[in-house]
Structure formats: C-alpha cells, structure tokens
Symmetry: C2
C-alpha cells in the first residue's frame, strides 16, 4: 500500500476552524433551541452590493452570448479581461506603485499561500508571527519545511516563532531573531488586529534585506485600515521590491469570501540566489497547478474596483468596522482588555492566565456566542480569544448584550 505522506502525521489533530465547527455542532445538539451567534470564523455576512451584483450579472449574461463568452484565461477575451483586471488592481488598489504585470490574479489569499509554499519548497527556513493565521504553519508542515511539533511548547521544529503580544506592541525584537529564508507577515494582523506602522515595516524590510530573506506579506485586511498614516501595502516601503511578495483578496472588503478572487504581487526585481526572477517561477506554478480565477469573479472584481464599486467597498468596510467598534466598546465596558478592532475587523480580547479554549467554552455556554480561541493561532495566542466583526448588525448587538452573562 502507498505510504502516507510523512508530513501529515506531524499536523495537529485538525485545522482550527473545522474544530470550532465541531464544538459548535456539539453545543447545538445539547442545546437545540439555542440561537448561536458566530463571531468565530471571519466569514462575511452582508449581501453583495448593487453595482457589483450588476457587474456579475452582466458577466453571466455575456457568457451566454458568442460575443461575451470566454473559456480559459488564454483565449482572446479571457486575456483581455485578465489584462484589464491586472491594470485595475495596479491602478486603483495600489495607486500605480506596482506594475500590472506583477499582479498575478488568483482565487484568493489562502490558496496563494499554499502555492507559495509549493513554490519555495521544503528546503527553506521560515519565520512566522506568533500568533498567526494557521495556514502559514500548516502549509509549511505539509510541504515538509518543519520537523515534529513539540508538545510542551506547541511549536514546530524548524519554524522561528516571532512572538507578537501586547508586551512588545505586537512587533518582535528583530535583532534577537535568527536569519530565515521566508518571513510571513500579516498586517492588519489576523488574529491580533495589530497594524504595523510605517517605521515597523521599514525595520522589517531592512531586516529582510540584510538577511537575504523574502517577506510574504499578507495584506488581506488592508482595506480595513482607516488611519491614513498606516501603510496598506508593503510596497509603500522603500526597498521592499527586492524582498517581498504581497498576497491580497477581495474576500473581506466586498464580501467575495464565496465568490473567490484574490491576487499576489511579485515585483520584477525579486530574485532567487541564482538570479531567476521569482515572478518567472510563480508564473510556472500558476500555469501548472492552477487554471485561473473564475471569469465571473474577475468581472465582479472589475466592477468592485471602479469608482462606484470602490464606494460600495468603503460602505461594506464601514459596516463591519462599526461592528468592531460595538464589540470593542462592549468588552471594554465589561472590563475586558482588548486590542485591534480599529484598523482591522478583529478584536483580540485578553484573559491573562486563562486557557483560550476554556474562555471559548465559557462564552459559548453562557452567551451562545462562537469566538476563536487564541491558542489556535499559536502558542502566544494563549490567554486570548478573537472576536470577528463579520456579522449582521443585530447579531453583533445581541451578542454583545449577552456577553454580560459571562463577564457582567
């Protein structure tokens, strides 16, 4: 029989979010009448907006006509669509600081992270923010970057964990870190909600340049940055083009979590030690293991990134940010210490000395609210739970009201 890929045995029992789903179902079996509100998985809840729906609808109708049909991205109409979208992203999202040819369109930030892991292969060393979105670690384990997980520390052998907690203002002491090939960096951060300042990103880029590292910058929440002084892209920082790629997504800002549209920016200057442009190998990965984002989603993205679409995006983002404000305020009034939730849709609540899963269960049992236990994001997430601001307003209000049952 075929041998199981030895890296799979190293993985934790389950991916974090399915585990939360299991606990939620168990609760509902025991409490069939409970109205559970989910502030756990960061899943978008608000309908697509008018102009974007129109863009999608026109696309679908067009696909039913000889003039509007396209197949794979490589036919004439598919190429034209993709070219438009790359230009639109370069211009409207990045204000022209990246080139359209450097924007590689995909079905989302998470799949792109997985493909980046295939691109870089098993022989790289990796540094990851702790806590972090689970895919950076899990994908690294699957591709063979790591050794086994130490039960005591919860850390995988072969990964450098960059502790990001309130004590260090969610930014590690770079001087204390060893050199690694890759540095995963997420800002606005999932789960802590921390947003790196310009000075911090400058220090990070300088650190990567000194060490010959590549930063994989996850900017999936950049549209939630309200403060003009904070950078929304790593490419706003001088010197970043030689040391960074950026993954991004329309999942959260326009509610495309289900429609699926993202991209990765790979600057032309970024190269491997033998001089091969990373963009060249990335093109090979995308051509071999991927077959293009849904053309319907591409048309939807075009609509989302014109002036009307961008105005709708601001409204959608504003809606979720008001949710975040309500959650933060409620927790603060209940005496809970929180971080994030200002330029990010995640509120990171601190319960010093407590087990995250215990707090998670407490909130689920008493308030019938699903959150995400911080320890699921890494050892330094212990003692925290994450509240997601993605939800209907009435659910958010009701959930915060119920939180008084836990901490009132």
């Amino acid at each position: 029989m075929v041998q199981r890929n030895k890296n799979f045995a190293k993985l934790h029992a389950g991916y974090l979010f399915p585990e939360i789903g299991r606990r939620r179902r168990t609760f509902l079996e025991q409490n069939p009448d409970a109205h559970v509100i989910s502030l756990g998985i960061g899943n978008t809840t608000e309908p697509l907006t008018l102009h974007i729906v129109d863009g999608l609808k026109n696309a679908v109708v067009g696909l039913g006509t000889p003039e509007g049909y396209s197949g794979y991205d490589d036919d004439a109409r598919g190429q034209a669509l993709l070219k438009n979208l790359k230009s639109r992203i370069a211009e409207k999202w990045y204000g022209g600081i990246v080139d359209p040819d450097e924007v590689v369109v995909s079905d989302g930030a998470k799949p792109d992270c997985g493909r980046l892991q295939v691109l870089f292969g098993p022989d790289v060393s990796v540094a990851i923010q702790d806590p972090a979105y689970p895919v950076y670690v899990d994908g690294s384990v699957i591709i063979g970057v790591t050794g086994v997980c130490d039960r005591e520390s919860g850390q995988f052998d072969g990964i450098v964990y960059m502790r990001c907690t309130p004590e260090n203002d969610f930014f590690p002491d770079l001087e204390s870190l060893p050199q690694t090939d890759l540095i995963y960096w997420c800002s606005p951060n999932n789960p802590t909600g921390a947003v790196s300042t310009r000075e911090q990103l400058e220090a990070l880029v300088e650190f990567a340049r000194r060490n010959g590292s590549i930063i994989i910058f996850d900017a999936a929440y950049s549209a939630f940055v309200q403060d003009e002084a904070l950078p929304r892209s790593i490419f706003e920082v001088e010197g970043s083009r030689e040391v960074a790629v950026e993954v991004n997504s329309l999942s959260k800002p326009v509610g495309f979590a289900g429609v699926r549209l993202g991209w990765t920016v790979v600057p032309q200057e970024l190269a491997f030690d033998d001089g091969t442009p990373v963009l060249k190998d990335w093109g090979r990965i995308m051509g071999t293991l991927f077959n293009g984002a849904s053309n319907i989603a591409q048309y939807g993205a075009l609509a989302a990134l014109d002036d009307e679409g961008l105005e709708e995006m601001r409204q959608t983002v504003g809606y979720y940010m008001e949710n975040a404000r309500i959650i933060r305020q409620a927790l603060t009034e209940l005496g809970v210490t929180t971080y994030g939730g200002v330029n990010s849709p995640y509120v990171w609540a601190h319960f010093a000395g407590r087990d995250s899963w215990d707090v998670f269960e407490d909130v689920l049992q008493k308030a019938h609210v699903v959150t995400t236990p911080g320890s699921g994001f890494g050892p330094s997430g212990a003692g925290f739970i994450r509240f997601s601001a993605f939800g209907h307003r009435e659910d958010i209000v009701e959930a915060t009201r119920r939180l008084a049952r836990v901490w009132g």
Copy 2:
C-alpha cells in the same frame, strides 16, 4: 538570498501551452493579416446554454440579497449549497455508485491534480501514460518526485513512462511494468483520444490491487463517451474503490473552462499503509490550501446537473463531437492516419518518422491552423499532432478546408 527550489531547474523550458502561444504570436507578427484558427489548446468556444446561464444569474442576484448571500462554504447557506451539489453529482453524474461525502468539489481537475501531488508528497513512485497531459509530469517534478530529465530520451528519472501508441492499442503491457505507488490514467485520453475498455480498466484495477498502487483516474472527458459499452468512470469497475481516486470537471462538457468547477471522488475505503483514509488527508489538504469553488460556479453546476442542464450538456457535447467527426473525416480524406475523435474531443494524427514541432509549424505556416505537437505530451507523442475539436463550426470547416494546402 533565498535558494531557488531545486526542482524548478529540472523542468522543461516552458509549460507546453504557453510555448504554443508564443509560436502563434510570432507567426502573427510575421503574418499580421493571417486569420489563424486555433485547434491547439483545448479551450471551449461555445456560449453557455440558456438554463445554465439562468442558474448562474439567479445565483448572482441571490448573492445581492440577505436571503441568498453566502460567504465561505462553511456558513449555513454555503454548506447547504455544497451538500446539494455533492448529492447532485453523486446521483446525476455517477448514478449513485459513489457517495455524496466522497465527492470533494473544487475549481477544476488541473488544480486538483496539483493538490493530489502535494497530498502524496515527494516520496512516492509514479507511473504516467506516455503521451499524457503535461501536468502529471510537471507537477510531479515540482513536488520533488523525480530526478533530472534525460536529454536523449526526454524522460525524467524516477517516472515510469507507460508507452501508449497505436502498436499496443494505447494500452501498456502491464506485466512489463514495475510497481509504483501512483498510476496516472486518463480516459478518454488527452491527447490520444483513446478510451479504455471495461476489460482494460479491469486489468488496470487488478494490477493496482496486486501492487498496492493508487490510480489517479482523470475522467475530465468522460461526458464525451458516446458508446454505452465504454466505462465513463473508474468506479464502474469492481474492486476500484480500494485503489482509485477520480478527478473530473465541467470545463469541457458545459463550457465551464472559465467558470471553474470540478471535483475529485475519494472512496471511503481508500487508505494509506498506516490505515489513514486518503479522504481524511484530502479533506485536510482542501481545508488548508483551498477555500472552496466559487459559490456562483457551484450554483451553475447545480443547474448544469438537473434534467434541463443535462440535456443542454448533451447538446454542447454533441456540437463538439460533430466537430471531431468533421476533422477526422477531412484528415482521412487527405490520407492522414488518425486515432481518437469518436468518444473524445481530440483527434490524434500520425506522421510516422516526422518531428511533431515540424508538422506543427507546417500546419501553422501553410494552413494558419494551430495544433498541438504530440511530443509536447511526452516522448511517445513524437510523430503525432493533436487536433482539438473545440471551436466554432465555421472555423472547424474552414480549418479542414485549408488542411488541403498541407497534405492535398
């Protein structure tokens, strides 16, 4: 600087289809007035049909309403949609011989092949039909299964090439093959158009059972099988559930090449040597490196797989199969020996002793028709070119008329 993934250097210069695109562009630069007809890349050309467009349109309109919106597959509406689609595929596509829980929905067969390669990892041995769709080889190289490519033979060290030519009726002498962990098998075959008979698939399953191999059965063209006696799924063969997975796709039969919807069937009985169900690890791969097929495409697939949609699919398939008949007939009349094109949209034309790229250039220069050189699919494709039956009828007719300039 970061070391380039050592497996990339092993790859051939370019993925086959971009290379064809380059040659086509070069020709057009030199002959700007030429009307080039592409029968190369198997890209669909006919508009989506009425009922399927309606399904997509309703989906898009629904996503703009509180009642119809869904985000990631894991919210209630996303789960319900996915459950419906898995049941529909199990029932309507497979006639109930697979279980809905065994159908894992994705964005297509090619991305699923790539993820299967990540699933099985670098430590497996692999057998591949020669010639074959390039992704089986290229993905295996990228993930680290192979050594370098031998310039003389065109074969990668560490891959068993199963020669499939007219001499052996496109089916290898299994007894002469060594044991491998994985066997990639594509029927109806891309590029040869050969369809394995029931007896052949029974022998293949028996061979896999004896050797402890897993068959990765690519059935992306199964909807093109017209002959009732020929199997459309590996799971029609007894004993296959312990030794096979099947990838499939709506790209070709309903023109979803751009819309993106496919699936992989992983039977519950299929297990690794340590007893771990393959379906379990596949779920982990899909949960970690993927984020669901576009929900719009899922609704479109639901429409494509109800009675009206299936009738439209038969018409679309019939259209392309009539194209195949026209191509076959024209080539035959010109004295060219062909294979395939009867239960498959590909016609495999034989030019014994000639270099495939020379024939490709000959057809391009004289008839302004793009084909695919057989050698691009592997060493045993030398001396063949592939004609794709995907095209507008008038282009197919015009292309076949022009072929007289080459062989008339």
